[in-house]
Each structure stands twice: as structure tokens, then as C-alpha cells.
Point group: C2
Chain length 348, copies 2
């Protein structure tokens, strides 16, 4: 059973501190929405779907605090709560998707008592978490058939159980392939600067006894040129209507390399990652994070003081480099402008 | 004046410890060839031309210890010394080039007294060091015309003063362009796992007041796609007769990205880096280094214990991706099978 990084028990949200893995497994507890926002911002929790789940609980916690005489008064305060949670990280659309869903839920239950409404919002967050786990299993099955037996699969960053409500998207596909009896070996890009690959992907695959080999990001091209990689699968933080996909910085490079070597490049992501409101990837805001992520490793200084640094946390892979986009509602293989809309608006 | 990482003064070889930069500037002193071999192996000194220079002094120090009645007896011992130095790192051909040159020098002076021969070998090592500095200046001038004014130049690893007898190859070209009055901004790949870009390139360019921006290796593709890079220049550890070039791991990926974005990709290296004895890059041995370089940063553990790791230190960029190879004897632009031979056998 793969790890679930976000648990809701006895009115408390528990999240494993992903900043400390793999050296320490520390669970932090949250009951305050501001603390949840801070946890998203500082990457206690990360990964687009997991951010969505955490934000949903944050919104429910924020609602719990509101004292209001009417739904309208409640709604004004609830908007403020959601704005705080929405201001944490700009790229992953699941954050905004989850907050929108919480707001729609509140609206749909505006006639409830305040206590009833608050309980319903907690219920909605629990539902979002449970759904995410379920849909990852379905997504995994949908994608598993794309993974050949004995495949050596490159992945970048962590689109695993730790990035979701559990099971994972890209790693969910790998888990489903393994559960279907296939032999799969994973090559994990370490994923600088935050090292999600080294710290998280390697850790959770090792824990599930799925063979994993860690490499530095700049080694993937070499391994491809030596015929040591069969396909690539990654997650996504936001997919534009035309299929352009924002994901962890370095994903674009992997996609270019895959194309150069004639390897399939798959994106695995839930429908909630698709942002039909933007026509293409140029509209996706790219977060620039703190320079210290690049210049230091823990307390260790890696670069001369005062050096200029760029630290974009994401990049955009154009749709033309993507072999297929795997979702819980099916697999789109090209012609994304049409296919993604079909999937996104399909009845569940 | 750019730094010279290798100094010979008062019969002592002094090398700046490149493992400690940029945090500490420690000069280590060497008089024993075994210690020089260890310094090459453990990367106190690194960079193909610098390794050649260090190995030449190592050979001269080894010769200094030999007690022999005849040149033949000397030669047997000298071979052993050179074998120890040659067993340190397999990829950079300059190491073997320098050792061969020291052996040829010994042969050419076989009629000298033992004391005279030993002095001559020290002289030859000093000559190799001085030549390297001179040729880098010439190489730099040859390459400078390829760098446009206001260019934003990506480099990978450190092919700078620290990688050579001084001035640098790839960074020598940049220094020469700057000296010619051009405005050049360097984007430095940090170059995992050893971080030559973050630790060395950023440090030596900052010291020379050449603008430098540090990025993680996986960000170069993103910056290229945004139109923020104009060309790429790197060094080389070994160039096969057909132009295939071994250089620091990740170079191949940068070359693929440059081609994808229509950017020139330049290799700057002295003639001693060209290995006409091998037809193509498949014959270049690729060093695999210790897993700890990937799993740890200093004492900090970055990955779960026991995870499988690959750590190839170099990769091979096929000639077809290289726009030009810049040497001290001129610039080869394609048709490398013919052009490199011409340059390598040209009168100095």
C-alpha cells in the first residue's frame, strides 16, 4: 500500500513533512487555514493534486472559524480565506480548482445552517481527498497498458503518492503496470533544486519494492543515447486547452530528449489539472522560487555569495512533444485541442 | 588577470583545492608524485588541460625520486611512475598526452646525466604549464569572433582558468570576447553532481567581473525556449578523430537542446584534447564515479539509503551537433574528420 501523505483524523489534518524526507518521517498537524497556506508555500506538501487536497482542507478550516449571521456575510469571509490559500503557489491549477470547488459547494448549500454548512465543507474536502486517491487508481489502470513489460521508465520530479491523495499519477501508472504483473524499472531524475526525485520518488518506490535508479538530471540524455531508457512518464501542474503542459522545471528538456531518441513521452494527470480557460502554455504563470534553493544545500553553500541566480520552478512542454496525456477518464493521444475538451466535459 | 590554479615555485607544486571552492581558498603543496596522483583522482585539480599539467609535474616529481645506473633502468621506473599517474582518471586524454610527452622528453634526453635528465623533466612540465596558458590565449582569440556583442552565452561545467594552466578554454573564449570590447553575459549550468558550474565557473567569472547567472542544469532548456540564450560554449575532455566530443555529463543534453532551438554549439579545446587514434566517440572510456557524489551533498543525505545510483562523469556529444571546434591552431567548422587532422598535424 503506497503512502498517503495527507490524512484527516479527529478534526486534524496530518501531513508528512516532505522537506525532511527521506531522512526523517515527521507528521505535522494542522487545524488553522493560515498554517495550511504556509505549509503549501513552504512545500511541507507539494505536487499539484496534493496541493489541491491540502487547500480544500485549508478552506474548510477557514470556514470553521467564520462567525456570520447570513450566507452572504459568510461568503465574503470565505472568499478571503480562499484568497489566502490561493496566493501560495501560482502554477498548479489544482489549487484553484479545489478552492473553486469548495466555493461552489458552499454556494450549493447556502440554505444550510452555518454549522451544517461548515460540516458540509469538511465533508467536501474529505471527498476531494478520497476522490483523488480513487481517480489515481483509475488513471493508473488507463496508463498501465502503455508501459511495456520489462520497461525502463524515466520519470522527473515526484508525481507519486506523495504528490497526490495517494498512489500517484505518473507513479500510479507505474504501480498499476507492476500490479498487472509487468516488470518495470524506474530511472528517477533527482530533480534539482528541490530534489523531489532523489528525496521523494526514490523513497516511495523503494518503500513499495519497485526497482529505482537515481540519476542527476543531466544524465538522462546520456542514458537515452545508450538505449537504457524505453519511455518517459511525468505528472503535470497545469495543462492548457491545446495540451501544452506545465510541470516541474526540466520536464521540457526531458521531452526534447525523448523526441530526439524516438521515445514515447507520457503525461499523467487528473482532469482537474486541465485548464480549458487558457488556450496554450504561454498563459501559464511560472513561479520563480527563492535563490537559496539553488545556492545552498541545507546549510552548505554551493555557490559564491551574491551570484545572480534564476530559479523557475516549472517549464512548459509543448503539446507536439507529448505522445499521450493519461487521465482518469481516458487517454488522449494527440489532437489535444479536441480530445482534452472531450475528456474534461465527459460524464464521470 | 584570471587565476592560475597550478603554480610551481621553489621546487613545490601548489594547487588550489577545487573541492573547497568557493567557500575556502586553500592552496595545497605537492612534491610527491603519489600525492599528485591522489590529487587528480580526488579532484583537488580537475579539468582536462589542468589534469595534464598536474600529471606532467607528477611525472617530473616521480623521476626526481628514481635512483638508476642507466637510462634503461631509469626508463623502467619512469614507466611505473607514469602508470600510477595514468590510472587516476580515464576519460580526459590530456592526461595521457602529457604523460606521453614527458616520456618522449625523457627519451630525447637519454644521453644526459641522471641529474640533468631530472632537471629537464621539471623543465618540460613547466613548459607544458606555460604553453597551456599561452595556447588558451590564442584559442580564446580564435573563438572570440564567434561570440556576438551582447551575447548571452550558456556554459556547462568549468572550462575556465581553473580547468587549465590559466585563462581557460570555453571561458578563455569569453574572456577574449570581453577583452575585445564585447558585452557578454554568461549563464552557468551548476553541473551536478560535482557542481563545477556553481562552485568554480561562477566563482572565477565573478572574480573577473564578467556577469554570470547560475542555473540548475535542467533550466537551460526553459531559458532557450524563452529566447534567453544566444549560443553555447563548452570545453572537452577528449575529441575523437571524427569530432565526437566527450565532456562533462550533461553536455550532450545541452547540445541536443541547442540544436532544437537553432543555437550554435561550440567546443573549445586545445589540440592536445584531440585523440586521432580513435575513430569516434564510442571508443572513449566514460568514468563512473562514486555514488556518494549523487546521494550526498557534503554530509547531507539527499536520497534514501541503499538506492541504486548511476554516476557517469562524462557523455559524448556527436559531431553532428557541434557547430565548430575552436583550437589554438584555428577553428574547425564541420567536416571534422578532415579538419581536425589538419589542425592536429599543422606546424605550430
Amino acid at each position: 500500500m503506497s503512502i498517503k501523505p495527507i490524512l484527516y483524523e479527529n478534526n486534524v489534518l496530518k501531513m508528512i513533512d516532505q522537506r525532511l524526507l527521506p531522512v526523517e518521517e515527521l507528521w505535522l498537524e494542522y487545524t488553522d487555514y493560515r498554517a495550511v497556506a504556509e505549509a503549501i508555500k513552504t512545500m511541507v506538501v507539494r505536487g499539484a493534486p496534493a496541493i489541491g487536497v491540502a487547500a480544500a482542507f485549508g478552506a474548510a478550516f477557514g470556514a470553521r472559524e467564520i462567525v456570520a449571521e447570513s450566507y452572504e456575510a459568510f461568503s465574503v469571509e470565505f472568499e478571503k480565506v480562499c484568497a489566502v490559500l490561493g496566493a501560495t503557489r501560482p502554477t498548479a491549477v489544482n489549487l484553484f480548482w479545489a478552492l473553486d470547488r469548495m466555493k461552489r459547494c458552499a454556494d450549493a448549500h447556502r440554505t444550510l445552517s452555518l454549522a451544517g454548512l461548515k460540516a458540509r465543507l469538511i465533508g467536501e474536502a474529505m471527498e476531494i481527498a478520497a476522490e483523488d486517491l480513487r481517480l489515481n487508481r483509475t488513471l493508473g489502470k488507463n496508463g498501465a497498458e502503455l508501459i511495456p513489460d520489462n520497461a525502463r521508465v524515466l520519470t522527473h520530479c515526484n508525481a507519486g503518492a506523495l504528490a497526490t491523495g495517494g498512489y500517484g499519477t505518473a507513479l500510479g501508472v507505474i504501480r498499476a503496470a507492476v500490479e498487472a504483473g509487468k516488470k518495470v524499472a524506474v530511472i528517477a531524475d533527482e530533480t534539482r533544486p528541490w530534489l523531489q526525485g532523489a528525496r521523494l520518488t526514490a523513497w516511495e518506490l523503494q518503500r513499495d519494492n519497485i526497482p529505482v535508479t537515481l540519476i542527476c538530471d543531466n544524465m538522462a540524455g546520456h542514458l537515452m543515447s545508450k538505449g537504457e531508457i524505453d519511455c518517459v512518464i511525468v505528472g503535470a501542474d497545469r495543462i492548457a486547452a491545446n495540451g501544452d503542459t506545465a510541470n516541474k522545471i526540466g520536464t521540457y528538456t526531458v521531452a526534447v530528449l525523448a523526441r530526439e531518441h524516438g521515445l514515447p513521452f507520457y503525461v499523467a494527470a487528473p482532469i482537474s489539472t486541465i485548464d480549458l480557460a487558457i488556450p496554450d502554455g504561454s498563459h501559464i504563470p511560472i513561479e520563480e522560487r527563492d535563490r537559496r534553493e539553488v545556492t545552498h544545500s541545507g546549510e552548505r553553500q554551493l555557490a559564491p555569495e551574491g551570484v545572480a541566480v534564476r530559479n523557475p520552478a516549472f517549464d512548459v512542454t509543448p503539446a507536439r512533444l507529448i505522445t499521450a496525456i493519461i487521465t482518469e477518464r481516458g487517454v488522449a493521444r494527440g489532437n489535444y485541442g479536441v480530445e482534452l475538451k472531450k475528456l474534461a466535459t465527459k460524464d464521470k
